[in-house]
């Protein structure tokens, strides 16, 4: 194939040359060269096997290039900007890497780097984990996420002594020391360009967007580039900022749902917009409160060998992570992308008893067990106390003995209290009487019989008491239900 042929239209090429004038400007973006690289990449792609994957390493280079580029142009390194422009220039920049790789003889789908990259991690890594091993390299969590970009199913070894194992991968790593192995069944970064046709279309669309944005405003002006860039960045920032903020571990502000509610409050009551905002807030909260993929915990085997674990096909984190509508939200909330630089999900916490990921308000204060688990444990404890401590025979004897020794002082205190609190005493007596009358207790029936007969209630035979109770019940029912 002729690698010198062009795949762009004449108009696009004209714009390329026009835009190329900005190349020498200190604030300018080398769009002309990018476009030329794009052309060459497309042609190289057409010349190779279209089934080949695009190189994963390209993404790292793009990230660094773009980050540096914005830092130089804008004078700051706002993470939101990096995220915002990522999608806009991804196609061009990925293509830019290809010719170099092609010239170096690197196959497009070289294993294992050709595995799809992941941008989220469903595993819960212990807080005290500082380093991870991946492909023989010691990396921090952020480095692993932003630079290493492990493929799905790859092993990551977390070194912490005395802990148990999270979820195991399917293959042994061959390393001596690992005590934790974390499976990374996160969302696969989609490759939009599996074929040359898609590549050409994507490149052309990106060029169209880029050039039209520039020309529509101030052609060949650097200022126009900034405007276009900031315009797109603002849109992304509006959407990304709340999520990014909640990803911070020390975040205590309003959640997205709270913001939506606040916006709904500002709307006219009963309006469609207010209803939509309320619904959006509800959906957001529901997603946050939904079950999250959790790794299975396995007891730590002190032998240190991975072989004894065998194969564990029941990794439950992967299917849940990959399927369903919650995937996108999860990928956004799990912020190990290297841009936000934080691990874990925003406002979420794993219960140490049920091992489920739950929102912070499901916990009482800073406790490590969720409210449900605490309540369940409390219920179990109370259920186990079938016989109360004061009902045990030894305690009964103790109380009886104690009362015999202190009855005088107890009675004296009771009399004293009654004199000091006559109103309280009357209220308590009335309440007791009302309860006894309502329940037809022995004491109440006996008292009633004793008053009519004129003897002490203790002398009333029990069968008479029970017969009288039944009679009272019957009379009450007749009185209450008579027409």
């Amino acid at each position: 194939m002729d690698t010198k042929q062009t795949v762009l239209t004449d108009e696009q090429r004209t714009e390329i040359f026009e835009l190329h004038f900005s190349h020498d400007h200190p604030d300018g973006v080398d769009i002309g060269r990018v476009i030329e690289d794009t052309e060459r990449a497309v042609i190289a792609k057409l010349g190779g096997m279209t089934a080949n994957e695009w190189l994963t390493e390209a993404k790292d280079a793009i990230t660094m290039w773009h980050y540096t580029s914005i830092a130089q142009h804008e004078g700051h390194t706002d993470e939101a900007d990096v995220q915002a422009h990522w999608h806009a220039v991804e196609a061009i920049l990925r293509a830019r890497i290809l010719p170099t790789a092609s010239e170096a003889g690197t196959p497009y789908a070289a294993a294992p780097s050709a595995q799809p990259a992941v941008n989220g991690y469903t595993c819960t890594v212990p807080d005290d984990c500082e380093t991870l091993h991946w492909r023989g390299q010691i990396l921090s969590m952020n480095e692993l996420a932003s630079v290493a970009q492990p493929g799905v199913g790859e092993e990551i070894h977390v070194h912490i002594e005395g802990q148990d194992v999270l979820t195991l991968p399917l293959a042994s790593s061959g390393m001596d020391a690992p005590r934790f192995v974390v499976h990374v069944p996160a969302q696969v970064q989609p490759d939009h360009f599996h074929g040359a046709t898609e590549m050409v279309q994507a490149a052309a669309e990106c060029l169209d967007t880029l050039t039209s944005n520039l020309n529509d405003r101030h052609p060949l002006r650097i200022r126009a580039q900034r405007d276009a860039k900031s315009h797109v960045a603002n849109l992304y920032e509006i959407a990304a900022a709340p999520v990014a903020a909640q990803a911070q571990p020390d975040y205590h502000g309003a959640t997205v749902a709270d913001r939506l509610d606040a916006m709904a409050d500002d709307c006219a009551p009963g309006s469609q917009r207010a209803a939509d905002l309320r619904a959006a807030a509800t959906v957001w909260r529901k997603h946050l409160a939904g079950p999250a993929a959790q790794p299975k915990r396995r007891p730590y085997n002190a032998s240190g060998s991975l072989s004894e674990y065998g194969i564990f096909p029941e990794c439950d984190a992967a299917p849940r992570c990959r399927s369903g509508a919650g995937r996108q939200l999860q990928a956004r909330l799990i912020c190990l992308s290297g841009v936000c630089g934080q691990s874990g999900e925003a406002g979420m916490k794993t219960c140490r008893i049920c091992n489920e990921l739950k929102p912070a308000d499901a916990y009482r204060g800073t406790r490590s067990a969720c409210r449900e688990c605490e309540s369940a444990r409390r219920r179990e404890w109370y259920a186990a106390q079938a016989v109360k401590p004061h009902q045990r025979p030894e305690m009964k004897a103790y109380y009886r003995q104690w009362y015999a020794a202190n009855s005088e002082s107890v009675k004296a205190r009771a009399v004293e209290w009654t004199k000091a609190n006559p109103d309280k005493r009357n209220a308590i007596c009335k309440e007791n009487m009302r309860r006894q009358r309502e329940k037809l207790t022995d004491a109440y029936v006996r008292r009633m019989l004793a008053q009519s007969i004129g003897i002490r209630s203790a002398h009333i035979p029990q069968p008479l008491v029970e017969a009288q109770r039944e009679l009272l019940k019957l009379k009450r029912y007749i009185r209450e239900n008579s027409v």
Partner: protein, 79 residues
């Protein structure tokens, strides 16, 4: 109905039937009135023995009193 236990069982049966609608209110009322008379007569007997300062020896209450005569059960609630 020769004992207080039988009377109690009969009253419970009447109560259940009344709730189920198997007997009418006036019938139940008559039965309750009759049971009241029986209990009142037993009360008179109990009072008689109390005045004589004797332990009650009443056939109507006797068979139920074994082991628990004159010993009230404390604070037993009945719905």
């Amino acid at each position: 109905m020769k004992t207080a236990s039988e009377l109690r069982a009969e009253l419970a049966s009447v109560f259940a039937k009344l709730k189920a609608g198997e007997i009418k209110h006036n019938e139940a009322s008559e039965l309750a009135n009759l049971a009241g008379k029986m209990i009142a007569s037993a009360k008179v007997q109990v009072e008689y023995y109390a005045l004589r300062k004797e332990s009650p020896d009443i056939a109507f209450l006797k068979d139920d009193e074994q082991g628990r005569a004159n010993t009230p059960s404390h604070h037993q609630g009945h719905a």
